[in-house]
C-alpha cells in the first residue's frame, strides 16, 4: 500500500498562500519508471515543498513506503518537465525507508529559469533501486484536493505551451 502524503499536506501548507505564488513550489514524488517485475523495488511516495528566495532554493519534504532504505537524493535539471538531466546537488536524506529530505541550493540564472518551466526535479535512490526510486518535478504551488474529491471550476495542469499567440487560460487557475 502506498502512503499518500502528498495532496492533502500540500493543500494544508499552502492553504493561506496565494495560488501560483512565484516563489513557492511543490512536488509529489512518486515511483520512477518501472515495469511489473521491477515494481517491487520502486515503491513509495513523498511530498516535497520548496521556496525560491532570489537564487536560494530551499527544499523540505517527507517520504515513506520505500521497500529498501534510501541511499541518496539529489536535485536535478531535466531537458523538459518530465525529462531527465544532470544533478545540481545533493539533498540530505536518512538511510531509511521513510524520513525527511532537505537541502538548500544557490541556483544559477539558467536553473532559476528551468525551475519556472518545471525542469527541476528530485531523484531519491534506494538500495534496491540505486538508479532512482522516487522522483518528481517541481510545480508552482497550487491548491490540491484529496483523491476522489471533486474540484469545481478551474484546476491545475502544468502547461508548457508557448503563450505567444494567445493563452490557453482555461485550465489554469
Amino acid at each position: 500500500m502506498i502512503s499518500r502524503l502528498g495532496p492533502l499536506a500540500a493543500a494544508i501548507i499552502f492553504a493561506t498562500a496565494p495560488a501560483f505564488a512565484a516563489d513557492n513550489y511543490q512536488t509529489d514524488i512518486g515511483p520512477t519508471p518501472k515495469n511489473g517485475r521491477q515494481g517491487a523495488n520502486v515503491q513509495g511516495r513523498g511530498t516535497v515543498l520548496a521556496t525560491l528566495d532570489r537564487t536560494t532554493f530551499t527544499i523540505q519534504g517527507k517520504f515513506a513506503g520505500l521497500s529498501s532504505p534510501a541511499t541518496a537524493a539529489r536535485l536535478h535539471m531535466g531537458n523538459v518537465m518530465g525529462g531527465t538531466g544532470p544533478a545540481i546537488g545533493d539533498l540530505k536524506v536518512p538511510q531509511a525507508k521513510s524520513g525527511e529530505i532537505s537541502g538548500t541550493f544557490t541556483l544559477t540564472p539558467a536553473q532559476v529559469a528551468g525551475l519556472k518551466v518545471g525542469k527541476l526535479y528530485i531523484m531519491l535512490d534506494s538500495q534496491s533501486a540505486p538508479k532512482g526510486n522516487l522522483w518528481g518535478w517541481f510545480q508552482p504551488a497550487h491548491v490540491t484536493v484529496p483523491e476522489g474529491v471533486p474540484q469545481m471550476g478551474s484546476w491545475y495542469i502544468p502547461n508548457l505551451l508557448d503563450q505567444g499567440d494567445g493563452p490557453a487560460k482555461k485550465n489554469n487557475s
Partner: protein, 692 residues
Amino acid sequence: MIKNTMRAFGAVATLGAAAAAAIWASHAIAQTGAGPFTEAQAQAGQPIYVNRCAVCHDAGGETIRLVGPAFTQAWNSRSTAALYTRIKTTMPFNNPGSLSEAETTAVVAYILKSNGATASATALTPTTDVTIASLIATHGNRRDPYAGYVSLSSMAAATGITFPGTVAKYTPVTEGMLLNPPASDWLMHYQNYAGWSHSPLKQITPQNVHNLQLRWVWSLEDGERQQITPLVHDGVMFVSTVVNNTVQALNAATGDLIWENRLGPRLENQVNATARAMALYGNQLFYPASDATMYALDARTGKVNWKFKISNYGRDKIGGVMIADGKLIVGLGVCDEPSLEDRCFIAAYDVKDGHQIWKFNTVAYTGEPGGNTWGNMTNGERSGADAWIAGTYDPKLRLIYFGTGQAKAGKNGIGDKLFSNATIALDVDTGKLKWYNQSAPDEGLDLDEVYEKVLVDDGSQKLLLTAGKKGILWKLDRVTGKFIDYVPTVFQNVFTHIDRKTGRGTYRADILKPEPGGSRPSCPAPSGGHNWPASSYVPEDDLLILPLMQICVTSQGDMPGNFEAPGSDGNMGRLSAYRAKDLKPVWTVQQRAPFLTSAMTTAGGVGFVGDWDRIFRAFDVKTGKTLWKTRLGTTAQGFPTTFMVDGEQFVAVPTGYNGGSPQVRPSSMFAFERNRPLVGHAVYVFALPKTQ
C-alpha cells in the same frame, strides 16, 4: 515492400542490464532445437534489446512481450526471416530501419535465446528461414500477472449456433429510430448519431441512485480484449466476445440467454482484435469478427444472413462500425501487411448483401490528394491512419465523421502524412472527402487522434469536439473543418506551441531530433491522455465529460518506462467536465486508478464510469460528486449503457482485463500495489429496487 507495424512492435527504450538478465533467467525454458544463431550474436543482442526495445515490450505498452507466452503464441508459426524482416523494417519505433543488419540479427538471436532456444555454431543471417516453433517450446496458456494480457485463443471450442432460440418480439430498427433513438433502447455504440453516450432516461436520479442494486451478471468468455458496448433493443441485450467471436442475445431484464452463435475462428493471437461496437439495423445485427469478417446476423435468431471479409490481409482488424443513412460504415485498422493493396480505409456497405458502395483510403498514395505529404516514401512503405474507432453522423449535413490514428512509417519531419491523425468528414452518399483537420500532423509517438467525434450545436454554430491521446480537447466547425479552439485537459509536453488560428501544433525539438542520451519523455504516454474510453455529452448542462489518464513514458536514456505525469500527484485517473460552448472547465475528479470505461450520462443528472481498480461509480453530472459505487469482479472496462424494460431503468457495465496500453501501462505501474483478477469478462446490470 514491407509496411511498418509500429503498434505491434512498440517503441524504444531500456530497462537495465540486470532487469534484462532477470528476464532471461526467469523465462528460460526447454528448447526444442539448436538455434540458427551463435552465442556471440545472442550476447550482442542483449544490450541492443535493453536499449532499443524493452520499454514497450517489457514495461507495458500496446505491444506483446517478446519473452514469454505472448511471443510464442504470436510467432510460433512464423519464421526467423519474418521476425528479422519485421524488426529490420519497422523498429525501433521512433527510427525504423536504423538498426544495422548485424544489430537486427543479434536482437533476433537474443529474443530466440530468451525464449528457450540454444545457440549453435551457425550464425543467423537475414535470410535464415527457420520456423520459430522448431526452436522454442510453447508456453501454453501460462498467465503473466504483470503482462496485463492473457490469451486463451488456443483452447478448443464449438462453433455455430450453440444455443438456439428466437427473440419473441422484435421490431426492425429503422433509420428513423437511429435518427431519434427510443429512450428505452441503446441502439448504437454512442447511443445517438452525435456521439453523446447519453440517454434521455430519467428514472435514476441523484436522489435515488444510492439504492441501485445488482440485478444480474452474465459471464463472458475470458481471454483477449474486452471493451464491448452492450446494445439493447426491445428488451434484448446483444453482447460479444472476441476470443471465439461469440455473439449472444440476452433478456435484458433477467440475463437469460436467448441465443448464442459461436462464429469463430479462434485465432492464434488476436492482439488488436476488439469488437467495441456492433450495429443494429432492420432485423440484423452486424458483428466485426477478429479475422476481419463482417457478419450480418439475424438479430432474432443469431443465424448468419451473410458475411464477407472486409480485408483479406493477415492481421487487419475491423475498427469502427456504425450505421448511417441505411449504410453499414466500417473503418479498418492494423492494415500493414506487405501489400500495396493493404491500406486502412473507411467504407460503406449495403446492409442487404454487404456489397461495397464506396471506399475512402486513409493513407494517401502518390498521385492522390495528399499523396505528396509522405516525403520520398514509396506507397508500399506508407502505413497507419487506422480507422479503429466508430464514427458519428450529421444527417442534416449528410456527413460522417471518423478519426484516424498516427502514421506508422517514416521519421518525423518528412511531411504531414495524410490522412493520419486527422478528423475526416466524408459525404455519406459518395464517400468523398468533404474536409479533414489534422490536429497532429506527422505524429510519431503513437499518440492517436482517432477518438469519438462529438457533435454539438451552439446556437447556429455546428461544432465537433474531440480529444486524442495528447489530451488536447479540440473544437472544430463541423461544416468546414475549421479549427476554432482548444484546451489541454492533462499535462502534455509534446507540443511546445499550438497555433491558435490553425490549431497546428509544434513538436518539442528533441522529439523531431532526439538528443543523444536524452530521456525523450512523452507526456502523455501512448496510453493517452484520452483514449477509447469515450466522453459523454450532457445536453441539459452543455457539459462534455471526459475520462482521462495521466501517465508519461520515457522512451530512451537511462530511466525508461512509464511514470506518473508531473503535477498528477500520483493520480493516474482523471474525470473532467468542460462546458462545450467555450471549453471552460467546470469540475474534475482525480484518483489513483485510471478510468477504463467510457463516461455514460443520463437526463436524470446521473453519470456512470468505471475504473481499473474494479470500482463502478455513479456521479452527479453537475459536480462530479460520487453518488454511489460498487466493486466488480475485475476491471470495469468497455462502454456502459442504460435502457428501460417494463418501466424499469437498468444500467449495464462490462468488465474485462485485456486491452491495449490504457490498461496495460497502469497494470504495470500497479504491480505490487494493487491487484485485480485476470479472469472475469462479464456484464453487470443494475437497477433500483422494484418497490421504487
